[in-house]
Amino acid sequence: MPTIRVLLLFVLIAGLSSTGCSKSSTSQASSESSSGSSASSSKSSASSSGSSSPSSREAAYVRDIRDFTAEWVLSGGDVGTFKRRVAEIAKQDGITDWEQDEGTYRGIGRGLKKAGLSGQRFSDVSANLAGSDPKRAEWIQKGFDAEPKP
């Protein structure tokens, strides 16, 4: 039976333009990465009940900023690009004023630790990203302390 299924599948593969992977417009439309939508995904998009709670949403945002920050440190990019890209991630999470969001800086602090920064190097990068705002520096430190050692 499995052999017949495989043979049939290949016949279908030959007869179709695509295969194997679902091209669900429903799913694609509701993806976090998507800015589009679909009538078929109307339940999930017309109501946000399928989405996460605000607290888990913030946790996911902090995680995104952490992972992106760690990647940025390892790739050695410049601060200007970093901030623009953080702004993009924040916008996707509903945050326009990301500089005022504690989660942004806690994520940055976690990301710096995840990338293996410590001591003077951490202090330098942290100061560069926090600017002259002591509150942001404090948030970065908070994130740094909360992240387990890499």
Binding site: L8, E32, G36
Partner: protein, 640 residues
């Protein structure tokens, strides 16, 4: 693997896990096949409430998607009527985090890669506008096709947030009190001529803005590395122009356009005293933040200031009227549910309306419970209010209901005026346009090399396993996961075969199934009605109470996903019905178009596997209630 062997494997796995101090599980999800682009099924991995999966997009790329599990389950088990098989893989806490991080990291990097393409396309569109051309067409949103039937106009830079405000020229408008107050505070902090000076500096920067010149700049090389630092011409323009628009709005204290504000006269929208206090306090904090923004050096300050000022006016209006007033957050271009008064969709819409209303109240309760309201909390209410009102108004008036799949952050887009466009000599702009096209083309090539869909080596399964196993050093994979799964040179790239491979090779502790909508409903009906009657009624598309005729489906008569022995017979009948429909369609071709022929031919084609006991087709729904998928829990059982 036999049931007994599997049970033994599970036992050993659990014993091994018991020896370890802590363990976690991620889930490998196999979605059963359906007709169309998913004849072999689909696959995904789940970490908590998040699902990652690869899908081949229309432009020929394979994109990594990330979405809430609830949404994924609704899309596949309800709308697509496909059962999902779950393999729970036991790993250490450390491995779990490592795999989850790796998927998340790949997702974020991929977003940045396609963002580069978007920016380069916007560069082309902006230069075409500077040259006074309408654009030559091209896909939006990261598509990899340059031309062809799916090509759409490129996105020229738009100013998000600027569209919320009244245009002051040619007629002046009455100033908005909230912005008059803000302007006074800004002038007090930064000086009376600070806004004017910044405006002059921004105008000069816009006029002197020059496009990127390097045609062969480094592009994307690997899905594991961020793209190089870049501040695209169109992004620089958008940021400057947004700042310019924000300065204009504050200097003139422009009011928000009436049609950009949404509210409702019903009791649901009345502000409670506690909400009034919370909004008052949020208004004050928002003003402080806006003051900071007008002195900020960050590139994207203009967008944040525009949205912030529009929200400030919405809050002032809420406090003045005693009702929730929010910005219309939907983008200008978004999809919509049409034919909302169709009787077959009433159940769905009743549920949709209930959920939207519930979300509105829940977000407001969360606002009151928060120690200090942040932008995220306010956005939750704003988005929920927009959705609730959209559904309610649509159902009341019969107009289309707008829907949006992403996070609903206020859009308010507007094209920048010509006067703000960079001043380039035509020859320079022409030359820059050629360079921009080369840059776009090289980015498309680079992305295609990395993300191009391949039937075997880069499909939803092979890419999933590649990502999963590349989270570890190759020498550690077997130890971390229990084994390795090879997709090259095997049939493991096929979703339903991959699920067996996972059960066989990885440390699978449990297998479960999330039944499709039809299967779930059938089980419920069998439990309370005469089985024969249920079977006769639900076995076909004509009398089924679960399935409704869906124009997206090809033509068929009998469902074969819940039967085995009669499958070839039903398949033969489906084949004949499909062919009959195609012939009828041919006769009616001049009047009805090719739709019936195509539906009949496809229906006949997908009946062929049924002749050999293989079911692919499940039928799908355009709309469906989510209650079933939410309440039906997975049942655990070892595989045969």
């Amino acid at each position: 693997m036999s049931r007994r062997a599997f049970s033994a494997a599970v036992l050993v796995t659990l014993l091994v896990a018991g020896a370890s101090a802590r363990a976690a599980r991620f889930e490998y999800l196999y979605v059963e096949s359906n007709v169309g682009g998913s004849s072999g099924g689909h696959a995904a991995v789940r970490f908590g409430d998040r699902v990652f999966h690869y899908q081949n997009a229309k432009d020929g790329s394979l994109r990594l998607l990330r979405e809430p599990f609830d949404t994924f389950r609704y899309a596949y088990t309800v709308l697509e009527n496909r059962s999902v098989h779950v393999g729970r893989v036991l790993v250490s806490d450390e491995s779990y985090e490592q795999i989850h991080d790796h998927f998340n990291r790949r997702f974020l990097i991929e977003q940045q890669h396609f963002r580069v393409l978007d920016a380069r396309r916007s560069d082309v569109a902006l230069l075409e506008r500077i040259l006074g051309r309408g654009g030559d067409g091209g896909p939006r949103n990261g598509g990899l096709r340059n031309s062809g039937p799916t090509a759409r106009p490129r996105d020229e830079p738009k100013l998000r947030g600027a569209g919320f405000f009244e245009v002051a020229d040619p007629a002046p408008v009455a100033p908005a009190p909230a912005l008059v107050a803000l302007r006074g505070r800004v002038e007090q902090r930064y000086g009376p001529d600070a806004l004017g000076r910044r405006l002059t500096a921004t105008d000069r920067a816009l006029a002197e803005l020059r496009p990127d010149e390097a045609p062969d700049d480094p592009v994307i090389s690997s899905r594991d590395h961020l793209p190089p630092d870049e501040y695209a011409f169109s992004d620089r323009f958008s940021d400057l122009a947004s700042g310019r628009a924000a300065l204009d709005v504050l200097i003139d204290a422009r009011p928000v356009r009436r049609e950009a504000l949404r509210s409702d006269a019903s009791a649901d929208w009345r502000l409670s005293q506690a909400e009034r206090e919370v909004l008052l306090s949020h208004e004050s904090r928002l003003e402080d933040r806006l003051m900071d923004l007008f002195g900020s050096e960050r590139d994207d300050w203009g967008f944040a200031a525009l949205v912030g000022m529009a929200r400030l006016e919405a809050i002032a209006e809420s406090l003045a009227t005693g009702r929730w007033v929010v910005l219309d957050a939907f983008p200008a271009r978004t999809r919509a549910i049409t034919d909302v008064l169709h009787p077959g969709r009433s159940e769905f819409f009743a549920e949709l309306r209930r959920y939207a209303r519930r979300d509105f109240f829940e977000s407001r309760a969360a606002l009151l419970a928060a120690d200090e309201i942040g932008e995220r909390d306010y956005n939750e209410v704003e988005a929920a209010a927009n959705r609730a009102l959209e559904v309610r108004d649509g159902l009341a008036s019969g107009r289309d209901i707008r829907v949006y799949g992403g996070r609903l952050v206020p859009h308010g887009e507007q094209s920048p005026p010509d006067a703000w466009l960079p001043r380039l000599r035509p020859d320079d702009a022409e030359s820059a346009l050629n360079v921009a096209r080369l840059r776009e083309s090289s980015t498309v090539q680079a992305l295609r090399a990395i993300y191009g869909y391949e039937l075997v080596t880069n499909n939803c399964v092979s890419a999933l396993f590649e990502t999963l196993e590349s989270a570890f050093d190759p020498s550690e994979v077997a130890e971390r996961l229990g084994g390795r799964i090879e997709t090259y040179g095997t049939l493991n790239f096929i979703p339903w075969i991959s699920f067996d491979a996972v059960a066989r090779e990885y440390r699978v502790a449990e297998v479960a199934e999330i039944p499709s909508l039809r299967m779930t409903r059938m089980t419920e009906m069998y439990a309370r009605e005469n089985r024969a009657r249920v079977y006769l009624r639900e076995s076909n598309t004509l009398t089924s109470s679960v399935y409704r005729d869906n124009p997206r489906d090809s033509f068929f008569l009998f469902f074969t996903d819940d039967v085995v022995l009669p499958r070839p017979l039903y398949g033969a009948l489906n084949l004949v019905a499909g062919l009959g429909q195609a012939v009828l369609g041919l006769l009616r071709l001049p009047f009805e178009g090719p739709g019936e022929v195509v539906a009949g031919a496809k229906g006949a084609f997908f009946s062929l596997p049924e002749l050999f006991f293989v079911n692919l087709r499940k039928g799908s729904l355009d709309y469906g209630p989510s209650v079933v998928a939410r309440t039906r829990l997975e049942s655990s059982s070892p595989p045969d």
